[in-house]
Amino acid sequence: MPDASFVFAQSLSGLTAAMFLFLIASGLSLIFGVLRVLNFAHGTFYMLGAYLAYQFMLWLGPGPGLFWIAALGAALGIALLGGVVERVLFRHLYGKEELYQLLFTYALGLILSDAAKIVWGTQQKSVSRPPELAGSFMLFGTTIPQYNLFIIVLGPSIALAFWFVLQRTRAGRFVRAAALDRETLGALGVNVSALYMGVFMLASFLGGLGGALISPMRATTPGMDTEVIVEAFVVVVIGGLGSLWGTFLGAVVYGQVLSFGILFFPRFSIFAVFALMAAVLIIRPWGLLGRPLR
């Protein structure tokens, strides 16, 4: 019978993984909800966020507070990249077949991930935890790294911030309207192109931020983009494509299944995650919190 402190520790590590995924998947969900496109390049934005954070850390050097500057800088850089991509290339594909848009994001992912290889090489890079959060403390008999707790708190904070913006601000209302009916919104005089670009940039910002914040905990290495994109897909599908809280819930469920999966199915947790995705799609295709799509 597993004891309480272990269950607690395991669910915390599941939550940490979940919140990282939420950061990344939220961007994916946002783009799908508003632009109706599944952005394969999102994983690459995440990877580039991690590499940019590493690069800024190299330039800034170790020291208090510098990690946060590096992470924010990385996220902003990726937002800029997203804006350029949307303005110059992606814009021309709206209205074309969905398949072409998808293929374009996939091709973009290929190009950007190789660009990362050219700039930073093929060896893995390591970033240390920021000194402010390098310690850990004991809670209910388990050691909890401070940085993990930070991530666990950050996730819902971003979800709440999102929710607030979408529900309570004018811009948020426009975004929700665009998700429902873009033509009417345009007819009402709202600059829909600017809106789309803004949404794309915001989503890219989140993806890049996720990558930057995860780099102290994992390795920054080629291939991390393809690893994360499938996980992000699973999360948004389980939660419901286009639903913010759905993505949050999906991430939490995913994290816990992986965490406890290794207990009940010791060598089968990867199997469990995809089985869950299939089950959701079969029983309730629009996900736990999604709306039935047209």
Partner: protein, 394 residues
């Protein structure tokens, strides 16, 4: 009609470029050059290249220069097979020296067998590579085996004042074999030990937190790990944050070369100083004049004050090949294969012999406890001992 036109167009794309010159002896080297395994694979390929440059400067072998063709196998068995076949069919290599993981090794061994090319594996450790049912005339290994490694580690752990042991290894041939060898030998020499937990993350895992939590819940007193390369960097960073090393008082042994200078260097202050590990080589070992000379040359070649410990395996692999070709007096695969049996070569780590029984060299490793040394900006093993594996080889 259109399809014929397009096909012609495509055929033009396939038109071969300059014909290959036949004179040099071509050696193909599939090796992981990207991702976390590149931490070991990249220096290994450079070590091989250094030997090739040195021997070509002296006139080559049998009057012919050696040409080394290195290809990224991405630490994937399928990719390694593809790359090996291309090297043989397209580049017409005469020999294969390479592969790193214990999945790549056996897969490429099959290719070597079918194409009758001599294949020297400098790094894969799984026993399965040279097991009786997989052995064939063309496969040879100058790396340690999982049996040697597991047993060497068991002898060290047996001396610790602990009885509750846990293991964490990747769920594939290498991880499974070395853990099995470790446990079997440990139970033999110290029957009082109890294996309280075993964790099997998949090869390439990035999030070890659930595995670490599950393991620590069983309150082990010591941990045996075979997580390697860049993956060990990730694992130990996460384990350190969760307080693992403090909890077990650093009774931790990381085979899979967790104490190599590459790893300690790349982790800097994040490295869990105090754990035990092994390494194929260490620039600070310097036990023999030959080793000191090799290290000096390597340092100059890599332009690194603290040169890599993995170059030596690529170097030794090429050494054996070159010596065998010389002994056989030809590049014919069968003759070279025969020449390799029982061949002894003076390597930078001492004389090694490939025994006839299973084409395996008696390659031991350096073991030691890591400490902070004021001379270097990273941890080193001190004292460091070369464990002779001969008594571990069945």
């Amino acid at each position: 009609m259109l399809h014929v036109l397009t096909l012609l167009l495509a055929a033009l794309l396939a038109f071969p470029l300059a014909a290959e010159a036949q004179k040099p002896i071509k050696v193909g080297m599939p090796m992981p050059l990207s991702g976390p395994p590149a931490l070991f694979g990249d220096p290994a390929s450079k070590g091989a290249q250094m030997f090739v440059d040195e021997i070509n400067a002296k006139g080559g072998v049998l009057g012919r220069k050696i040409e080394l063709l290195v290809r990224d196998s991405k630490a994937d068995a399928n990719e390694a097979v593809r790359v090996a076949r291309e090297l043989i069919l397209k580049e017409n290599v005469d020999f294969l020296v390479g592969t790193l993981t214990s999945a790549e090794g056996p897969a490429v061994s099959v290719v070597a067998k079918e194409n009758k090319n001599v294949f020297i594996a400098p790094i894969p450790k799984t026993d399965q590579l040279t097991a009786a049912d997989k052995l064939h005339p063309y496969v040879f290994r100058v790396a340690a085996t999982t049996t040697m490694e597991g047993r060497s580690a068991a002898e060290i752990v047996a001396k610790w004042p602990v009885t509750k042991i846990a293991t964490v290894s990747f769920d594939y041939a290498y991880g499974q074999d070395v853990t099995k060898a470790f446990i079997e030998h440990l139970k033999k020499i110290k029957p009082s030990v109890e294996i309280v937990d075993q964790q099997w993350p998949k090869l390439g895992e990035q999030d070890y937190n659930p595995f670490i939590n599950a393991q620590m819940a069983k309150k082990p007193e010591a941990i045996f790990s075979s997580i390697w390369g860049g993956f060990f960097v990730t694992y130990s960073k996460q384990a350190k944050a969760l307080g693992v090393f403090d909890a077990i008082k650093y009774n931790f042994i990381g085979v899979g070369e967790a104490a190599t200078p590459e790893t300690t260097k790349s982790m800097g202050a994040d490295y869990p100083v105090g754990i035990w590990g092994n390494s194929y080589d260490a620039f600070y070992w310097g036990e023999t004049a030959a080793h000191r000379d090799y290290t000096a040359r390597l340092s100059k070649y890599l332009k690194d004050e603290y040169p890599s410990s993995w170059a030596v395996q690529g170097y030794i692999g090429m050494q054996f090949l070159a010596e065998a070709i010389k002994k056989a007096g030809s590049t014919d695969s069968d003759k070279v294969a025969k020449a390799l049996l029982g061949l002894t070569v003076e390597t930078p780590v001492g004389p090694l012999t490939i025994r006839e029984k299973d084409h395996q060299a008696n390659r031991g490793q350096l073991y030691g406890k890591t400490v902070k040394d004021p001379k270097y900006p990273f941890a080193i093993m001190k004292p460091v001992t070369y464990v002779d594996p001969s008594r571990f080889m069945d």
